[in-house]
């Protein structure tokens, strides 16, 4: 995306995040995991941006960096033009209201001892200038927005009295009650029924349409990303492998990994009746070059001589880039 990076809602510049797993009793060796590896990412304001990758690819890590639940080991994360590393204490708390997050598991992300009204009004209660009535109005309005209708019947319920879909709606209401400018949704439907997922997606579209909030939608399902997002970035082992407008990433995927993600979707309702690419090996390769392409070990298209270096993102169409030597 060739946009002015100062205007972008979220900018990751050369972000690396390492996790050190402590020396285990059984393996007795310390491993460093590169959850994110030199990631550059610009997320334009007012769109829904999809971050897609398999489990362990670093999606949640990216989200946690954006809301500053964690700090990068190197590189900078800026949100709405502010470098998140420079924010502390009260300033951080105040700034955070502009960036909210929805978590994967609605059964874990709500305090079992808090009622709906107390969950949704908590972010407001930290705002001194609002009167009690204003707060209550805002809570009711937000509950209606997320489709908990009529709102008053939900106010005094507790999470265990709500279904999974309703809980996720409460979580969305908590995030939206402050009118944030950025909303990050980390696999918001992976714990919900397929038929409930559509409801949540529709709600997200409605909210985005109404408030023009910048949304980051994290998923492993390219079909869901295609349904919701304007732009999609495909991430694998902490690296962005392909990025571009949804239509172009889905209809003309360039990277073998994106192609594998498309192949892996169930055939039912797929635009291609057969597996079209077959780019992922069943058995990973063993002759892995150092500093080679991250996808090398599972890529069926790989050739040792070309792929032993790290490919960089190259243009593959309008606003569309991919990191593979095949392009």
């Amino acid at each position: 995306m060739e946009t002015d990076s100062r205007k972008d809602a979220i900018v990751l510049a050369g972000v690396t995040r390492l996790y050190r797993s402590g020396s285990r009793l059984l393996t007795a060796r310390q491993k460093t995991i590169r959850a994110l590896d030199e990631v550059d990412l610009n997320i334009p304001p007012g769109c829904i941006f999809g971050l897609v990758g398999e489990s362990g690819s670093g999606k949640t890590t990216a989200a946690r960096l954006m809301v500053r639940l964690e700090k990068p080991d190197s590189g900078t994360v800026s949100v709405l033009g502010r470098d998140m590393a420079g924010l502390h204490g009260k300033h951080l708390r105040r700034f955070r209201r502009k960036i909210q997050m929805i978590f994967q598991d609605p059964y874990q992300s709500l305090n079992p001892y808090q009622s709906v009204i107390s969950i949704v009004s908590e972010p407001l209660s930290l705002r001194r200038q609002m009167t009690k009535d204003q707060r209550l109005d805002k809570v009711l309005e937000t509950l209606a927005l997320v489709g908990l209708d009529p709102p008053s019947t939900y106010l005094h319920r507790y999470p265990h009295q709500l279904s999974g879909g309703q809980r996720q709606r409460v979580a969305i209401a908590r995030a939206m009650v402050l009118d944030p400018q950025v909303l990050i949704a980390d696999e918001p439907t992976s714990m919900l029924d397929a038929s409930i997922a559509v409801q949540i997606y529709r709600l997200m579209l409605k909210i985005q349409h109404r408030s023009k909030v910048t949304m980051v939608f994290i998923t492993h399902n390219l079909a869901a990303a295609n349904y919701l997002c304007d732009h999609i970035a495909v991430i694998y082992r902490g690296r962005i492998l392909e990025i571009g407008p949804s239509g172009s990433v889905i209809n003309s995927p360039c990277h073998p990994y994106t192609q594998a993600l498309l192949d892996a979707l169930p055939r039912f309702g797929h635009i291609w009746k057969e597996r079209r690419f077959d780019t992922m090996l069943d058995e990973p390769r063993s002759d892995i070059p150092q500093n080679g392409c991250v996808f090398y070990s599972r890529c069926s298209k790989a050739e040792y001589s070309t792929c032993r270096r790290q490919p960089v993102l190259k243009s593959a169409g309008r606003d569309h880039k991919a990191a593979c030597f095949l392009i």
Partner: protein
């Protein structure tokens, strides 16, 4: 034709503080050897309860009210605990959703399966058991050199495949897979489903696959049964269910599925999920149905055959003059 597993008129109730609920209400289906049946439906529709009833592992507050579960000519509901215990794993085995977390963390995965075999078939010598496990690992696509690894050295998908290997260890006739891929990513899900398809072709096993995602059952199963509020509301071959769905709920489920194509907008199933404590009169689905008529609110619908394999529990099918 004698079917491998037949569930007849099964009704299971749970006693809860708020009263008794029928989690499974007069459900009947058959499973043939080498075929697979997918059960779909939203959360709380009673899918897992059927699975646990077949395995004889119902919760303490559950009671089988009516019905029979006939496996190889014997009614499992009349069998004693000892017989059931012997049948489990050996004849009917299971793959649960959280099963991949059920591996013992301090024992190599291969050894755990060897041990499972030797518990159920003490007569098998150790070397034969080891050989069998190595074969199984090849079948489910785990390289034999990983036999000695510990569970934490496996990825989530490999652990789930190891669980499948364990479920196959005693050459069962029936496998009950309850949400075997839920919460796994698409790539791992694809692998697991491919593995299940391959195994079913190879070993003549009957598979009961439970999932809330109709596309998962469409990928694997020959037959699909749709459950709503404890009832089976439609059952038919995969093609029948996907191309000529007859029950409005089945249609709603299919429409709710998110696909890659941009020309079809997914539509959520309207209305709130059924509350088993307060079931409506008449058809249980009428409150959410797109085109209910006055009779749907009053009359309980009855089964209607659309073909030799396709049945539906809806009045609409009647009025269509089938």
């Amino acid at each position: 034709m004698q079917s491998l597993l037949e569930v007849k008129d099964l009704t299971v109730s749970y006693t809860t503080p708020a009263g008794k609920i029928l989690a499974v209400d007069r459900v009947s289906f058959q499973l043939e050897a080498g075929r697979s049946l997918g059960l779909v439906g939203e959360s709380g529709s009673g899918k897992s309860t059927i699975g646990t009833a077949i395995l004889g592992l119902l919760a303490d507050n559950a009671r089988v009210e009516t019905g029979a579960i006939v496996f190889e000519g014997h009614n499992l509901l009349e069998a004693d605990q000892e017989t059931l215990r012997r049948l489990r794993w050996k004849k009917i085995s299971m793959i649960f959703q959280a099963a991949m977390n059920a591996l013992n963390p301090i024992m190599p995965v291969g050894d755990q399966i060897v041990e499972a075999i030797r518990v159920h078939e003490p007569e098998v010598p150790l070397t034969a058991a080891r050989q069998r496990v190595a074969d199984l690992f090849r079948q489910v696509g785990i390289p034999a050199r990983r036999l000695r690894d510990y569970p934490h050295q496996y990825s989530g998908g490999m652990r789930q495949r190891a669980i499948i290997a364990m479920a196959l260890a005693c050459n069962p006739r029936v496998i009950i897979a309850d949400e075997p891929t839920t919460a796994l990513d698409v790539i791992v899900q694809d692998r697991i489903l491919k593995t299940i398809i391959r195994l079913q072709d190879r070993f003549d096993i009957g598979i009961l696959l439970i999932s809330h995602d109709i596309s998962v059952t469409a990928e694997v199963c020959h037959q699909i049964g749709v459950m709503y509020a404890g009832q089976l509301v439609e059952i038919g071959t995969k093609e029948e269910i996907l191309t000529t769905p007859a029950h409005p709920y089945t249609r709603a489920l299919l429409e709710a599925h998110i696909t890659l194509s941009n020309d079809r907008q997914p539509a959520p199933v309207p209305g709130p999920a059924a509350d088993l404590h307060r079931l409506p009169e008449g058809c249980r689905f009428h409150g959410r149905c797109r085109r209910p008529d006055a009779n749907c609110r009053r009359q309980t619908p009855s089964w209607h055959s659309l073909s030799a394999t396709h049945k539906v529990l809806c009045r609409e099918a009647e009025s269509n003059g089938n």
